[in-house]
Amino acid sequence: MIRYIIRRLLWGVVLLIAVTAIVFLLFRVLPTADPAKLRAGRLQNPKIIAEIRADLGLNKSLLSQFWIYLKGVFFHFNLGYSYYSSASVRGLIFERLPATVSLVLGGAVLWITGGMAVGILSALRPRSRGDRASMGGALLLVSAPEYWLGLIVLYLFASDIGQVRIFPGAGSYTPLTSDPVKWFTSLLLPWFVVAAANAAIYARLMRSSLIETMGQDYIRTARAKGLPERQVVLRHGVRAAINPIMTILALDIGVLLGSAVLVETVFNIPGIGRLNYDAITHSDFPIVQGTVLVAALFIIVANILVDIAYAYLDPRVRYS
């Protein structure tokens, strides 16, 4: 098991290097703004552009530029400098990380509990009215674009512009360390939006996975042994059915940690997704590169954690 984990970690590093190289190349090849010209401002002075280009290392070969960047990342965790924001990329990302983590993990708690509960109940009563209603509702939520849903809930329930003024509106995000109560209430609407579409997917997944599991022989055996139905479902059925859920959960959380841009924008939450979006619109390449790297890191770590969790959840899985 230890060897497996070490092997996965090493592959993770290789993956990170590959992702970094691809993003680095993409921003050199695709049409994008010249960082030196962006820094030079509105009146382009060739002398100033040349000096800035030298300072940014843009006059070196691609390989040299990439090697310098890689060394900085892996040995000093230096993700570069944002000339647009006049701040270090690492500083900007770490400053925004708590907001994104709050949003994603809180949303994840909601969508897992909600999605799994609905999925389990639907699986236990397939084709009932409740099942059809919940799966229909799930389809609706999956179809609703996140940004649109965010605007709708704001226009309905935000305390400043809503029709029924209950929840704090856009721009009300408060860090947990500043005021835990305000932090919690300011995230209720964003959590709902993040959770809505994901819960729907998880409900449907849980339902289909559990229906299949509950048809297995060992479930019949467990019932035949006289175990309470609740124990049969939760200890034997759900535990086996949850494997595919865990896989996509890790991916979803990993992806969202790097790119919850739509919800962060509509609710004005200063997270990594919005940082990335602003950087793209301003052609602030160092930030884009840094956020992509961090997002890749989250996904790789999440996948490794999922693989370890598999071994715990499912005794049939053992790694040699």
């Binding site: 009146l43 382009q44 800035i52 924001s85």
Partner: protein, 596 residues
């Protein structure tokens, strides 16, 4: 059911989309004295907003969709930046909110003294102006000198110092150190010695933030960083300052990039040395969010303004339901179609005139929001800038290609024939490259501009890219040789015809290995020479006439196809007595705005 009457309209409004492009139908019930501006009844403009008598105290919340570009006074040049800059920094001269042509002495105690040969500018600065903490000491002429010198420092990279200060002796070769032509004979006097008689231009440019004093002993270490870190540690001379810690650090305290900024009162500011009333105690700026949500928050909320352009749907909402909270400001710049004067078919003046005649400028303005926020553009100096009337006013110079804002194919075909195409359609083999910007209304304007080309017989290849990419990689880049750029525009640095015309149309400024703001690569010798001569003209009225004449020449040569003089909408909450800056696209001025 009562809930349907509240929820359904909200849903329908969303379903109709945010781009409600029917502002043109709002029409006009104007009582404005200036008919060309067409300002509807009940809408404020910087010209009719009361500047005095505000209520002192309180905290204003500013909701901005866009972040600052730069907060270092030596680097900032966007309208969004300026509202914070002119609240925290005091340049030598500044405009009052409803003036765009006559600066008032700010750090300077009086108007600049210009020698009769136009080669020397002497300015006396006020006594008793102090920097904010942690510097605290009195401002001297050495601080103003350093501010101008650091503009040439590559770590600061001021974008326009060469354009306006190049006549100052030593500036063209300066790199941040002392400049021979900037002298400080005593603590309160600064002298600028010029190699050419351009004193009027140099003096006019001293309204820009780069003339705001910077304490040399404090800033030098920050200016040594690449790029300069001074913006993150800046001190203030204005009524407000970015909140900072005891070491002067602003970053992460008074300014969090992409998130927020806080301006607090500068404890060392003295009202007796300043013309600004500075009613507010604090300004909290929130950055980011959806523009439709921001707009509603401002209109329905309290003690709020938005200080960047609101969404079109919000402007429409404000016009229909919150008219007293809407401000429309002229003098917000222009938009025109840049056509390549240096290469390709449009080197022929008759084809340029044909395109101008064919272009449906009304449709392009409708895409931008109609008569509420646009004025049909008929030449290149815009309203409020000296020289506007002399250049033709709203009607513009009388040429047949300029007479039909909806486009006129008969006139267009006449010029195509004069260009040597007897059929009245272009039959040359070249496919024109047209590069526009994504997003609304730019994409729609680009399509309309492209259609006009097709109607004239041109084959075109239209590409839409992000605006920053359009400007830095395509339009104005000599090597790219783009034929048409439909989405370019300009905002003047200050109220002088040179600030409007020189950079976009002076061929002598074209660089071959960089991107140009002369997007049409306009390079006509007669016009270049006229601009060179006009740069040296002294006297406000003489300069206005000189640049108006150049404007007329630009129209005669049809160097570009103009379509829109911008009017900028701004919104505020009901309980805010907003005062907009006419000289800065109508942005709310924190020095004059107050809470009711």
């Amino acid at each position: 059911m009562r809930w349907i009457r509240t929820i359904v309209p909200a849903l329908l409004a969303l379903a109709a989309g945010a781009a409600a492009l029917v502002l043109g139908a709002c029409g006009s019930s104007s009582t404005s004295a200036d008919a060309g501006l067409n300002t509807p009844q009940g809408v404020l403009t910087p010209a009719n907003e009361p500047q005095g008598g505000g209520h002192k105290g309180g905290t204003l919340t500013v909701l901005n969709h866009q972040d600052f570009e730069h907060i270092d006074p030596g680097t900032s040049y966007f309208s969004n930046d300026y509202e914070a800059m002119y609240a925290t920094q005091r340049p030598l001269y500044s405009y009052t909110p409803n003036d765009v042509s006559t600066p008032s002495p700010d750090i300077a105690e009086s108007s600049p003294q210009i020698s009769s040969d136009g080669k020397n500018v002497t300015i006396h600065i006020r006594h008793g102006v102090h920097f904010s903490p942690p510097v605290n000491r009195e401002v001297t002429s050495a601080d103003v000198a350093y501010a101008l010198e650091r503009a040439a420092n590559p770590n600061v990279a001021n974008p326009y110092y060469l354009g306006y200060l190049s006549a100052v002796e030593g500036i063209p070769t300066a790199s941040g150190g002392p400049v021979a032509g900037i002298k400080t004979p005593n603590k309160y006097t600064i002298e600028l010695h010029l190699t050419e008689p351009k004193a009027q231009l140099v003096a006019a440019s001293l309204v820009l933030p780069y003339s705001a004093p910077v304490p040399v002993e404090y800033a030098k270490r920050f200016d040594a960083s690449k790029p300069s870190e001074y913006g993150n540690y800046q001190v203030a001379t204005g009524p407000y300052m970015f909140k900072n810690n005891s070491e002067g650090k602003v970053l992460g305290i008074g300014y969090q990039p992409g998130k927020s900024a806080v301006l607090v009162r500068n404890p060392n500011w003295k009202a007796s040395t300043d013309f600004r009333p500075a009613y507010l105690d604090q300004i909290n700026i929130q950055i980011g969010g959806d523009t439709n949500v921001i707009g509603r928050q401002v209109l329905e909320g309290s003690h709020m303004v938005q200080n960047d352009p609101p969404a079109q749907s919000i402007v429409k909402l404000a016009y229909e339901k919150y008219r007293s909270q809407l401000e429309i400001s002229p003098n917000a710049g222009d938009h025109y179609v840049a056509i390549n004067n240096s290469k390709g078919p449009f080197t022929n003046v008759n084809l340029r005139k044909a395109y101008w005649a064919a272009l449906d400028r009304e449709a392009m303005n409708k895409a931008r929001g109609g008569s509420l926020v646009t004025v049909p553009m008929t030449h290149f100096i815009w309203p409020e800038i000296p020289g506007f009337q002399a250049a033709g006013g709203y009607a513009g110079p009388k040429y047949d290609y300029n007479e039909h804002p909806q486009g006129n194919m008969a006139v267009a075909e006449k010029y195509v024939k004069l260009a040597g195409y007897p059929s009245g359609k272009y039959t040359g083999g070249k496919t024109l490259t047209v590069v526009g910007a994504t997003g609304n209304p730019e994409a729609e304007d680009a399509q309309i501009a492209n259609q006009a080309l097709n109607k004239l017989g041109f084959k075109t290849k239209l590409t839409l890219v992000d605006k920053s990419v359009m400007y830095s990689k395509y339009c104005g880049v000599v090597s790219e040789a783009i034929d048409v750029c439909p989405n370019v525009g300009w905002v003047a640095d200050f109220g002088d015809g040179q600030a409007v015309l020189n950079v976009p149309f002076n061929g002598k400024l074209i660089v071959t290995n960089g991107s140009n703001s002369n997007w049409g690569l306009v390079n006509h010798q007669k016009i270049n020479e006229a601009m060179t001569a006009a740069e040296k003209v002294q006297g406000k009225e003489a300069r206005a006439k000189a640049w108006a004449d150049i404007d007329r020449e630009l129209v005669a040569e049809a160097v570009a196809a103009p379509y829109d003089w911008d009017k900028q909408p701004q919104i505020r909450s009901q309980d805010v007595a907003g005062v907009g800056d006419l000289w800065n696209v109508g942005s709310w001025d924190y020095n004059y705005t107050s809470l009711k």
